[in-house]
C-alpha cells in the first residue's frame, strides 16, 4: 500500500491530543534549581555596578552570577552565513561592560523555586549610566563599541551592467518600502533544563529544538567539553518558526550552572521575556528601483536596503540580509541586478530568522514593484507579471548569485502555469466583474496577487539509521528535529513505502544527540527533502539486506522477492512468506543462518546536496475596506503552492494555512514597537496583536505537483514557508486596488489607522480631480 501522497493521520498526535506531550516545562529532575534572568531595563548604557548581596541574602537563593562569573565562556558563535567582520558583534551570555537592549541578560539568579528566583531577581540592583540610543537602522551610522561602527558589514550581490540598464530604460520605477519588526511567538515559550550526570560524566540539556547537534557542539566548545560528553534532548516542541531552538544565552547558562552548581537547573521563559529576549525579525527598509522598457519588461533592478539587526549579531549572522539580497528577484527575468544591504545594529532585541526569512520582506518589496510597473505602463498587474516571468522551458534557471553559500539555480518550475491555475481557481475574470459592480455601488473592494519563489531543502547532508527489530518494528533515527511540523509522519511514510511496511510500524527518533552522531536539524524547509531522501536511501539498503537474507531462507532469488505489509513474499504470488521481524531474527549476531552477513537488519543512509531547491507560489487576496474605520476584511484568500511532490497533502495544507496566519500577523497586526528611548512597547499579548481565530479567515489552498525537484529522487520541495511568504504582498496589492491608489501601501503592518490615512488621501485625490482608475 502506498503511503507517499496520502493524507494519513499524524503519528505524533496521540500523545499531543491526550495531554501526554512532553514539552520543555514538563521535564523536571529531583533537586533541580530554577534560574531567573535579570534583564537590562535600559536600551543602552554602561554598567556601573551590579549589587547582588540582597538577592544572595534571600533564603532559598543558591547563587547569583554576573558577567565576571562567566568571563571564561566565549560569546555565542555563528551557525549560518558568516561574513567578514561580524565577530565583534556577538552576544556574551551575560552583558559585560555595556547593555545594548532592554531585556539583555545582565545577571542570573539560581534558587530553590521559581518564585524565590523571581523575588531575588527583583533584588538585584543594576546601576547603569545611560548612553544615547539608536532605534533606527536607516539613520546615520553610530558607534557600537570602540572603533566598531553600527554597520558591521554590507551585503553586496549583483551581476550585469546596472548603469547601462538604467540608461537604456524607458521608465524608472522607484519605491521606498518597509516591513515592520515582528517575530514568531510560539505557543510554547523557550525552556531549557541543564543536568550534569556525574555518574557518566555527561552534561545533558533538555528543551533542545531545531538544531540540537549544532547547539550540542557549541555548548561543548564553550564549556570546554568534548561533544561526546554532552547530550541534547529534544522533547515536544510547541512551535519553532525560526525563533525557537537557536542557541541563546539562557541555554548556555543552564548548562554552565548545572556543571558548576552540581544540581539540575531549569529555566522556563515567560511571555514577556519571550517578546523581548527571543529573536525578533523582519524589520527592513528597501529603496528599490527598476529600469523597464515601454512594455513593462524589466531591464534592471537596483536594491538598497537597511536591515535592523538589533543589538547583537546572533547565530544566524547575516542569513536574513543574505537571503533578502538573493531572493528579492523572485520568479522574474532581471537581466541586470545590483543590491547593497546595510546590516545595522540598533538598541533593540537582536534579530534572527522567522518563517520565510528575507522572503516575506522582499516579496512585499518585489511585488509592490511589479504593481508599480503595471501602473506606470498602464497594464494590469497580472499582465506585468506575465511579461516578466521566467519560462518553464528555461529550467533549470541560473541566477549568477548565491544564497546561504549555495549557487542559486531554480531547479524546476512552471510559474506562468501556476498563475493560470490560481486565477482559474479564484475565478479571476468573474471576480473582476463583481468587484467592478460593487465599486460602482460605492464599496471599497479590490483584489491583489503576489508571486514568489521559495527555497528549501538546504544541504549539505543528512544521514539516518534504520533498524528493524525482531518484532518487525522499524526505527528510523535521524539528526533532523521536529518543531511540530509532522516529521515523524512524513519520514515514516517515506520509509514505509520504500521498505514495504505499514507507516504505523515505523518509529522516528529525532533530536536526540546520543542516538546519532550527526544532524542538521529542522530549518529552511529542509527535512522532507533532505532527511526524506536519506531515509529512502537507508530503507533501500535495509530492504536489499532483508531480501538477501530471505532469499536464502525461502530458497528463491532475491530479485523474485518483495516486501509487502511487513512480509517478504514471492513476487510470483507464491504463498510462502516470512515476516520482516523473522528476517531480523535470522540476522542477529547469534544466528546460524546469518552466514557472513553483517549482524542486524539495519543500515545507514546518507544524502548530500550542494543546491537548494525552489518551490514557488501565488497568493491571491480579495479585501473590503471600511472607509470610516480603516478596517480591512479579507473576503477571499488563495494560496497556490507547488511543492514538487506532496508526501502528505494534509500536512502540506496545514503548513500553508498556519503559515498564512503568521503572514497575516505580519501583514496586518503584529509589530514590536519601541519608543525613542528604546523601551519596548509590545511586551504582552494586549499590545502585541496576534491574529486569533476571529481574524484569520478560512482560505483556499491549491497544492500542485507540476514541477518535481530533479535534486532528489522523490521530487520533493519544502512546504513550510510558502503560506507566509506573500501575504503582505497580496494584501497590500488588494488594498491598493480597493482604494484605486496604486502604491498606496508602502509599509507593513497595514493597520486600520494607516488604512484610514490612505482613505483620506484618496478623498483628497478625488477632490482635486486626480482619480486613478483601478488597473486590475
Amino acid at each position: 500500500m502506498a503511503f507517499i501522497g496520502r493524507s494519513v493521520p499524524r503519528l505524533e498526535d496521540r500523545p499531543l491530543v491526550t495531554g501526554k506531550g512532553r514539552f520543555a516545562a514538563d521535564v523536571s529532575f529531583p533537586h533541580q534549581l530554577h534560574m531567573r534572568v535579570v534583564r537590562s531595563p535600559q536600551a543602552h548604557g554602561r554598567i556601573l555596578a551590579i549589587g547582588t548581596s540582597a538577592a544572595l541574602g534571600l533564603p532559598g537563593v543558591v547563587a547569583v552570577w554576573t558577567a565576571g562569573d562567566v568571563s571564561d565562556i566565549p560569546p555565542i558563535d555563528f551557525r549560518m552565513t558568516k561574513i567578514e567582520g561580524l565577530e565583534p558583534y556577538r552576544q556574551h551570555i551575560l552583558a559585560t561592560d555595556h547593555v545594548r537592549y532592554v531585556g539583555e541578560p545582565v545577571a542570573v539568579v539560581f534558587a530553590e523555586d521559581p518564585y524565590i528566583a523571581e523575588d531575588a531577581a527583583d533584588l538585584v540592583e543594576v546601576g547603569i549610566e545611560e548612553l544615547p540610543v539608536i532605534t533606527a537602522a536607516d539613520g546615520p551610522v553610530g558607534i557600537f563599541a570602540g572603533t566598531a561602527s553600527t554597520e558591521p558589514a554590507q551585503v553586496r550581490k549583483g551581476y550585469g551592467d546596472v548603469e547601462a540598464a538604467f540608461k537604456s530604460a524607458t521608465h524608472v520605477v522607484e519605491l521606498d518600502l518597509s516591513t515592520g519588526r515582528h517575530s514568531a511567538v510560539p505557543m510554547e515559550t523557550r525552556g531549557a533544563l541543564g543536568r550534569y550526570d556525574a555518574s557518566k560524566d555527561v552534561l545533558e540539556m533538555y528543551g533542545a529544538a531545531k538544531v540540537p547537534h549544532w547547539n550540542r557542539d557549541q555548548v561543548a566548545r564553550m564549556l570546554k567539553r568534548s561533544p561526546s560528553q554532552v547530550h541534547f534532548y529534544e522533547g515536544h516542541v510547541g512551535g519553532g518558526f525560526g525563533v525557537r531552538g537557536e542557541l541563546y544565552p539562557e541555554d548556555v547558562l543552564v548548562c554552565a550552572a548545572a556543571l558548576r552548581l552540581g544540581r539540575p537547573v531549569k529555566w522556563i521563559e515567560d511571555r514577556r521575556e519571550h517578546l523581548i529576549a527571543a529573536n525578533h525579525s523582519r524589520q527592513q527598509r528597501h529603496k528599490i528601483r527598476a529600469a523597464i522598457d515601454a512594455t513593462g519588461k524589466i531591464i534592471g533592478i537596483e536594491n538598497e536596503f537597511f536591515h535592523d539587526q538589533g543589538a547583537y549579531v546572533r547565530t544566524h549572522a547575516a542569513t536574513v540580509p543574505d537571503l533578502s539580497a538573493a531572493m528579492v528577484l523572485g520568479p522574474y527575468h532581471v537581466p541586470h541586478y545590483r543590491t547593497l544591504g546595510h546590516i545595522r545594529l540598533t538598541n533593540k532585541t537582536p534579530c534572527g530568522t522567522y518563517r520565510a526569512p528575507g522572503r516575506f520582506e522582499t516579496t512585499f518589496v518585489r511585488e509592490r514593484l511589479m504593481d508599480a510597473i503595471a501602473a506606470r505602463v498602464g497594464i494590469t498587474p497580472v499582465e506585468a507579471r506575465r511579461r516578466n516571468l521566467i519560462g518553464k522551458d528555461e529550467m533549470p534557471f541560473e541566477r549568477p548569485i548565491d544564497a546561504l553559500g549555495t549557487h542559486v539555480v531554480y531547479d524546476s518550475g512552471d510559474y506562468a502555469g501556476l498563475l493560470d491555475k490560481s486565477l482559474r481557481k479564484v475565478g479571476w475574470d468573474e471576480l473582476q466583474m463583481s468587484i467592478e459592480a460593487r465599486r460602482a455601488a460605492g464599496e471599497l473592494v479590490g483584489a491583489g496577487i503576489g508571486m514568489f519563489v521559495e527555497k528549501s531543502g538546504l544541504g549539505p547532508y543528512d544521514g539516518v539509521k534504520i533498524a528493524v527489530d525482531v518484532g518487525g518494528k522499524v526505527e528510523v533515527i535521524t539528526g533532523a528535529a521536529s518543531v511540530g511540523q509532522g516529521v515523524e509522519t512524513v519520514i515514516a511514510q517515506i520509509c514505509a513505502d520504500t521498505l514495504g511496511v505499514d507507516y504505523t510500524a515505523v518509529r522516528v527518533v529525532h533530536g536526540q544527540t546520543d542516538r546519532i552522531d550527526n544532524g542538521m536539524g529542522a530549518f529552511a524547509s529542509r527535512v522532507t527533502a533532505m532527511t526524506g531522501e536519506a531515509t529512502r536511501i537507508a530503507a533501500l539498503k535495509v530492504k536489499a539486506k532483508a531480501l538477501d537474507m530471505a532469499a536464502d531462507l525461502m530458497q528463491a532469488a532475491a530479485a523474485d522477492l518483495e516486501i509487502v505489509d511487513g512480509r517478504v513474499t514471492a513476487a510470483s504470488g507464491a504463498k510462502a512468506s516470512i515476516a520482516l521481524g523473522d528476517v531480523a531474527r535470522h540476522l542477529l549476531p547469534v544466528s546460524r543462518t546469518r552466514g557472513e552477513r553483517e549482524p542486524g537488519l539495519s543500515a545507514e543512509g546518507w544524502f548530500f546536496s550542494d543546491h537548494m531547491n525552489y518551490p514557488y507560489g501565488v497568493h491571491v487576496a480579495v479585501v473590503r475596506i471600511d472607509a470610516e474605520t480603516g478596517d480591512v476584511a479579507i473576503e477571499k484568500y488563495l494560496v497556490a503552492y507547488d511543492v514538487g511532490r506532496a508526501i502528505n497533502p494534509m500536512l502540506v495544507e496545514g503548513q500553508i494555512v498556519g503559515g498564512f496566519a503568521q503572514g497575516l500577523g505580519g501583514a496586518m497586526f503584529e509589530e514590536l514597537s519601541y519608543d525613542e528611548r528604546g523601551e519596548p512597547l509590545s511586551v504582552t499579548f494586549a499590545d502585541y496583536l496576534i491574529p486569533t481565530a476571529h481574524e484569520v479567515p478560512s482560505i483556499d489552498v491549491l497544492v500542485t505537483e507540476d514541477a518535481p525537484s530533479p535534486l532528489n529522487h522523490l521530487g520533493v520541495k519544502g512546504a513550510g514557508e510558502g503560506g507566509t511568504n506573500a501575504v503582505g504582498a497580496a494584501i497590500a496589492a488588494a488594498i491598493d486596488d480597493a482604494l484605486g491608489l496604486p502604491g498606496a501601501v508602502t509599509q507593513l503592518p497595514i493597520t486600520p489607522d494607516r488604512v484610514k490615512q490612505m482613505v483620506v488621501r484618496r478623498a483628497d485625490f478625488a477632490a482635486s480631480g486626480i482619480v486613478q482608475k483601478p488597473l486590475s
Partner: protein, 285 residues
C-alpha cells in the same frame, strides 16, 4: 511571571471584608474579585499587593437585585451573568448586547461588573454603560456606606475616588422606560480587544421625536462620558440619517482623544464619529 508573595484573606461576610480591608489597606492590601486585571498585573509584578482580600466568598455580594426603578448589581456578579437579559425591558437587552464585546468567553466567566468600575479602564464597556446611564455605586467601609455617582467615581484612567478602605460593593443602574431605544457600537483591532472607540446611545421615542437622549463614548478619552453637545443635537428631533450624522459630528468636535500604540488622536476622533453614528443607526428597529 510569578507574582510576588502576598498574604491571602478570604472573608465570608461583608463585615469581615471591610474590617480586613480597613486593617490591610494601609499595608498595601487590595480587593480580589474577578481578578482578570489584577492577577495579570501581579504576574507581571506591576502590582505587588502585600495582602489580597478575596471577596468571592462573600455571599451577600453575589446577587443581582431588581427594585422598582433600578437594577442593583453586587460586587460578585460576573460579566457572564448578563449573557441573557437579567431584567425585562431595554436595560436587560442593552446589557446582554454589550456584554458580548467584553474580552473573551472565559474572561467573562470570572471578571465582574463592579470590578470593571473599580479598575476604571477607559475602554471598559461597563464604565461606558454606567457613565452613559448615570449609574451610582455604593462604597462600603467600616465607616459605613455611601453612594457615589459613576461620573464622580472615575477620576481618570485607572483612577477612582474610592478611599483605600472602601469596597465597591454594588452598582445601581436605573431601569429604562418602556419606550427606550438603545444602540451600541464598538471598534477594536481584534475580537475581544479593548475598544479603540465605542459608543452607547439611548433615548426615548415619544410621538416620533427623541427625548432624554444620552450619547456616551468610551475608549476615546481617559474617562468614558456623555457628550452633551451631541445630546442637544438629538433632543426633540426625529431620527434620521442626517440627524445622526450631525450628532456624530458634534461628538467628533467635542472629544479630546487619547493617543497610544494602537491609534493616534486624530484616528480616534474619526473613530468616535463613526461609532456614534453606527450606534445611533443600531438604535433603529
Amino acid at each position: 511571571m510569578k507574582p510576588a508573595s502576598f498574604e491571602y484573606h478570604r472573608p465570608t461576610t461583608l463585615e469581615e471584608a471591610v474590617k480586613a480591608l480597613a486593617e490591610y489597606a494601609p499595608q498595601d492590601g487590595r480587593i480580589l474579585s474577578g481578578g482578570q486585571s489584577l492577577v495579570p498585573t501581579m504576574a507581571l509584578r506591576m502590582a505587588k499587593p502585600a495582602h489580597l482580600i478575596d471577596i468571592n466568598g462573600v455571599r451577600e455580594l453575589a446577587d443581582i437585585k431588581v427594585t422598582e426603578d433600578a437594577l442593583i448589581i453586587g460586587a460578585g456578579v460576573r460579566h457572564a451573568a448578563f449573557h441573557k437579559p437579567v431584567v425585562d425591558g431595554a436595560l436587560g437587552q442593552l446589557l446582554s448586547f454589550v456584554v458580548r464585546h467584553i474580552a473573551h468567553y472565559p474572561i467573562r466567566q470570572r471578571g465582574t461588573f463592579c470590578g470593571s468600575l473599580a479598575h476604571a479602564d477607559p475602554s471598559s464597556e461597563w464604565c461606558l454603560v454606567s457613565a452613559t446611564l448615570d449609574a451610582e455605586i455604593t462604597a462600603t467601609s467600616v465607616r459605613g456606606a455611601r453612594s457615589i455617582a459613576v461620573t464622580e467615581l472615575i477620576e481618570w484612567a485607572m483612577s477612582t475616588t474610592l478611599a483605600e478602605d472602601e469596597i465597591l460593593t454594588s452598582v445601581r443602574l436605573p431601569l429604562l422606560p418602556e419606550n427606550t431605544r438603545f444602540g451600541f457600537y464598538e471598534f477594536s483591532r481584534r475580537a475581544g480587544d479593548y475598544a479603540l472607540a465605542m459608543s452607547l446611545v439611548t433615548y426615548e421615542l415619544a410621538d416620533g421625536v427623541i427625548a432624554a437622549p444620552r450619547v456616551g463614548i468610551g475608549g476615546v478619552e481617559g474617562v468614558p462620558r456623555r457628550i452633551a453637545e451631541a445630546e442637544e443635537v438629538l433632543l426633540g428631533q426625529k431620527p434620521s440619517p442626517d440627524l445622526f450624522r450631525a450628532a456624530a459630528e458634534a461628538v467628533a468636535n467635542a472629544a479630546d482623544p487619547m493617543s497610544d500604540l494602537q491609534a493616534s488622536a486624530n484616528y480616534r476622533r474619526d473613530l468616535a464619529r463613526t461609532v456614534v453614528r453606527r450606534a445611533l443607526e443600531r438604535s433603529l428597529p
